[in-house]
């Protein structure tokens, strides 16, 4: 049985950084507060992992991008707690614990202030972010329904 896991990454208390978590909640996915070991645990054995995160890539705020594949450029030391998504991928690779397919869906953030809510641009982009992720996670048409199990690790 094909197994899909949806994982939102972020921090609800850092403005737009909570966007990935909010989208994951809407899709019944897992929430990850930045613990790379948990990330590796969550996608181990999955056929498809859809990771939703907020990006800071100098795009207009609210821009949604999909990145498919198991390679990400190294992010440098940007996380408040040490290891980035790229590091988690490296760790998964070193341990032979990568999902078969990975799609990272990001929304460009506008602000990451402590305690701030989602910015208007990201709030507006949220429905599209959710529907894009749902689309990515949808199993290919097959005779039997219920082939996708979301949010299980």
């Amino acid at each position: 049985m094909s197994r899909t896991v949806i994982i939102g990454i972020g921090n609800d208390y850092r403005g737009d950084d909570g966007a990935g978590l909010e989208a994951a909640r809407a899709l019944g996915g897992l929430e990850n507060g930045g613990d790379p070991a948990e990330l590796v645990e969550a996608w181990t054995g999955a056929d498809l992992a859809v990771v939703i995160d907020c990006a800071h890539a100098h795009d207009p705020p609210g821009t949604i991008r999909c990145h498919a594949g198991l390679g990400l450029p190294p992010a440098g030391h940007t996380s408040t707690h040490g290891l980035s998504l790229a590091d988690a991928l490296d760790l998964g690779r070193a341990l032979g614990r990568l999902p078969r397919r990975l799609v990272v869906v990001t929304v460009e953030g506008a602000g990451f202030e402590l305690g701030a809510p989602l910015s208007p641009a990201v709030r507006q982009a949220l429905p599209e972010l959710i529907s894009r992720c749902a689309e990515v996670a949808r199993p290919p048409a097959c005779p039997r329904s219920g082939g996708s199990r979301r949010g299980s690790a």
Binding site: Y13, G34, D35, A37, G82, L95, G115
Partner: protein
């Protein structure tokens, strides 16, 4: 005249961000500054005016690695103002939650942050490529801690089930004993593994600060050496230093004391659980070598697993998940043992049940001056070494104390060095 400046511009494998500046002249270190430039946090200020029930949840957000420590020190301080004692099975649940955090935090530090220093790898990930089974063991151990925190606290990071007087709901602890039994085996293997590392031959004459408790290897409550917790502001004072956004601390007027695993181990060795004491037999009751803190963390992980099993064995669910806590005006103090050391809280509740004052002294801030002392001793005789080599040595010396720099930076300092 030989003048040399060494700058380590971004420490890796340390929680948060920091930097180290060393200025030397004629073979002497004139100036050595561990610089912390994590953004300021203002937690103490933002707590003012909040309901007396809120600090456990708000302060938990200071750190993603040790939120339970913040919750426990806050609960203890606020409950003491309100005249409430949480004991019996509810205290046991708090211990379980805290042991879970120790297991999580120590496993992360031992396997992904500290061990690579001893085995010659630039990172835990690089180490995982060659030592897959070992890192898998570390992750499995960490997961047992996560499971424990999630079971008692509602989720593994920033648990949501803690409240003044106890918990929002009683947890379901079924299945945890089996996982903890396995974790205990992994923790014992960890002690064996790290004990075999090659340790630099260094000992420091540390002044230690840790909680002590008559019946326990203190974690949740106790006294501080020579004074009760409610007198901590008389003995532990903070001062600003220009080069860091974290405050430096003094103990009875003197800078440079140490809190954390080495302090706990040396002060409370006799209170370790039987399995932990057995695992510590090779190290012995005194450890003054900071590099061996990795062994001490492994022994504390054994203790946490062993004690968790003992609690799970005796636990009988209480009638209610919480005891009632009504606000009273007054001042209260709390202290508990975060994985990195003693975490001190002090609050004043006003007549309306709101927080009027809050003080938080995290362990890394307390250790900062002592870490600088360790570095001074390390660097001075090695000033002739190539910079990359000396840099690596300094990073190792800092990581010995597992500084959680993101925890310790909590006020703004506008200081630009050169």
């Amino acid at each position: 005249m030989v003048h040399r400046t060494i700058r380590v511009g971004g420490l890796t494998r340390v929680e948060g961000e920091g930097a180290l500046l060393v200025r030397a002249r004629d073979g002497r270190v004139n100036d050595l500054q561990l610089r912390i430039y994590e953004p300021p946090r203002f937690f103490e200020a933002l707590l003012r005016g909040r309901a007396f029930t809120e600090p456990p949840d708000i302060t938990a957000r200071i750190c993603g690695i040790c939120p339970v420590a913040y919750q426990m020190s806050a609960c203890q301080a606020l409950e003491s103002i309100c005249g409430v004692t949480v004991d019996g099975p509810l205290r046991d649940l708090r211990l379980l939650l805290y042991y879970g955090e120790w297991i999580e935090s120590h496993a992360l530090h031992i396997y992904l942050l500290h061990a690579p220093d001893f085995l010659g790898y630039p990172s835990g990930i690089a180490m995982a490529r060659d030592h897959r089974a070992v890192v898998e063991r570390g992750l499995a151990l960490k997961k047992a801690g996560n499971d424990l925190v999630a079971a008692v606290g509602g989720r593994a990071i920033h648990p949501v089930n803690v409240r003044l007087g106890g918990f929002h709901r009683l947890p379901d602890l079924r299945g945890l004993s089996e996982r903890l039994e396995h974790a205990l085996t992994l923790a014992l293997e960890t002690v064996d593994w790290v004990s075999g590392f090659d340790f630099p031959d260094v000992e420091h004459d540390y002044r230690f600060l840790a909680l002590t408790h008559p019946d326990e290897y203190a974690i949740l409550s106790g006294d501080l050496p020579g004074f009760p917790v409610d007198e901590w502001p008389l003995h532990i004072t903070e001062e600003q230093v220009p080069h860091s956004t974290a405050l430096h601390s003094r103990l009875d007027g003197r800078r440079g004391y140490l809190t954390g695993p080495l302090a706990r181990y040396n002060l409370n060795f006799a209170k370790l659980s039987p399995r932990a004491r057995e695992a510590a037999s090779a190290l012995g009751p005194v450890c003054l070598n900071p590099y061996k803190s990795i062994v001490v963390r492994a022994i504390e992980t054994v203790h946490a697993c062993d004690e968790s099993l003992r609690i799970l064995d005796r636990y009988k669910p209480p009638d209610a998940p919480t005891v009632p806590v009504e606000p009273r005006p007054g001042v209260g103090h709390g202290a508990s043992e975060a994985p990195r050391g003693t975490l001190l809280h002090r609050y004043r509740i006003d007549d309306d049940g709101l927080i009027a004052e809050a003080d938080i002294v995290p362990p890394t801030a307390q250790n900062q001056a002592r870490i600088e002392d360790d570095l001074r001793v390390l660097v001075e005789p090695r000033l002739g070494l190539p910079v990359p080599e000396l840099t690596a040595l300094c990073e190792r010396a800092i990581r010995n104390h597992d500084p959680c720099i993101s925890c310790s930076a909590h006020f703004l300092e506008l200081c630009l060095e050169q």
